[in-house]
């Protein structure tokens, strides 16, 4: 899947470039899980920038949950940022808004990592 990764201020920033559904959820998970380990190694957090993701189905949400479980044995926090209104609604309806720290933008997520 289209995917970019960046390292800023010790934080790993990943940015999927397309919607996540049953066609690419496996790719999404296989890219996402190692990013938790990378963030742990760099002593930072994992920020998932959803600015280019129009929507996500249940299989994509499950991959996020797997990343969250992966982070439990580390000091890594997972922050999600840049969601459009559809993604926000999906997070609300699925109950995922209670499981993840949500930020308006990548910049606000990065700012939050500086204060924690």
């Amino acid at each position: 899947m289209n995917w970019t990764k960046d390292l800023r201020q010790g934080n790993v920033i990943v940015s999927p470039g397309e919607p996540v559904d049953h066609e690419n959820a496996d790719d999404f998970e296989s890219l996402l899980i190692p990013s938790v380990e990378e963030a742990s190694r760099s002593g930072g957090n994992l920020i998932i920038d959803f600015r280019n993701v129009d929507y996500m189905t249940s299989v994509g949400l499950r991959a996020l949950m797997m990343a969250a479980k992966e982070s439990e044995s580390t000091a890594v926090k997972i922050l999600v940022a840049g969601m459009n209104e559809t993604m926000r609604e999906i997070f609300h309806i699925s109950g995922f808004e209670k499981l993840f720290v949500i930020h308006e933008s990548l910049e606000s997520a990065l700012a939050a990592t500086l204060t924690t």
């Binding site: 299989v59 949400l61 499950r62 309806i93 209670k98």
Partner: protein, 304 residues
Amino acid sequence: MRSSEVRDKLIGALKAANGRQFQSDAAIGNFVDNELDFPIRATYGGASSCVELDGASDEYLVCDMGSGLREFGLDTIRRSNEGRVKTYNVFMSHLHWDHIMGFPFFVPAFDPDVTIRIFGGHDTIEQALRRQQEEISFPVPFDFLKARFEFTTLVPGEVTEVAGCRVELIRQHHDNDSYGYRFSCNGQSVVYSTDSEHKLEDPLAIQQFVDFFRDADLVIMDTMYSLADAVSMKADWGHSSNVVAVDLCHRAQARRLVMFHHEPIFDDNTIRKIHLDTIRYEKLMRKESALEVLCAYDGLEVPL
């Protein structure tokens, strides 16, 4: 339902009426039916799983024998007295207590002119029903029942013809397994799939359900938990979510979804909110034709 909940509904209805005067009972009925939201004018109820498929045959077809079976049985006595054939074809998802608890109160079982055929993927159905009738649990032993019983174990992948319907089943992820059914009758298809957890990490298993639901006119599906709960603290509890139900039905291009097997701790307002959320999710995720999203309540009838 608790008295306090009835009181809340009455308060809600009177507030909505806002002092309005009605000229007739019909006018009041019209107001109730069309201007009050479901949790104010009605209740989802609390009966456990029991779903009738009506209209395919002169014989009765019913899925599961939860507490709803009692009311179903009494109503069929009336219908049988009007000439309906006294043969019941029952399809069991599984044998957990909430799916068999209606059987001891199923009055037609005491009628010697009744035939009860019970189908399922488990070969322990008769054992489960007999055990439930034993003295420690119930005063009437199984052998006292007068109806004629037939038990048939079905095999996933095989097609069975019952009462004019083509019946297929699929094994589902649930403690000690459960089975979903697809009924194809008179050119229409209905899927009954409850107590079924979908392991999203297994795309082949998911695809099997997409194929099983394919182009169904109606899918009655377990939507007990939120997706967040279903993949975290309630993983392996054997139930599904509204989000997965919509995703599966969209992929299968099913026509209608009935949200089923509500979480028992949810009140009417909570279930209504989940229903509205699910309608919204369907709209957000829709790529092709619309999926109508209904929400089960005791007594719901869905014409096909």
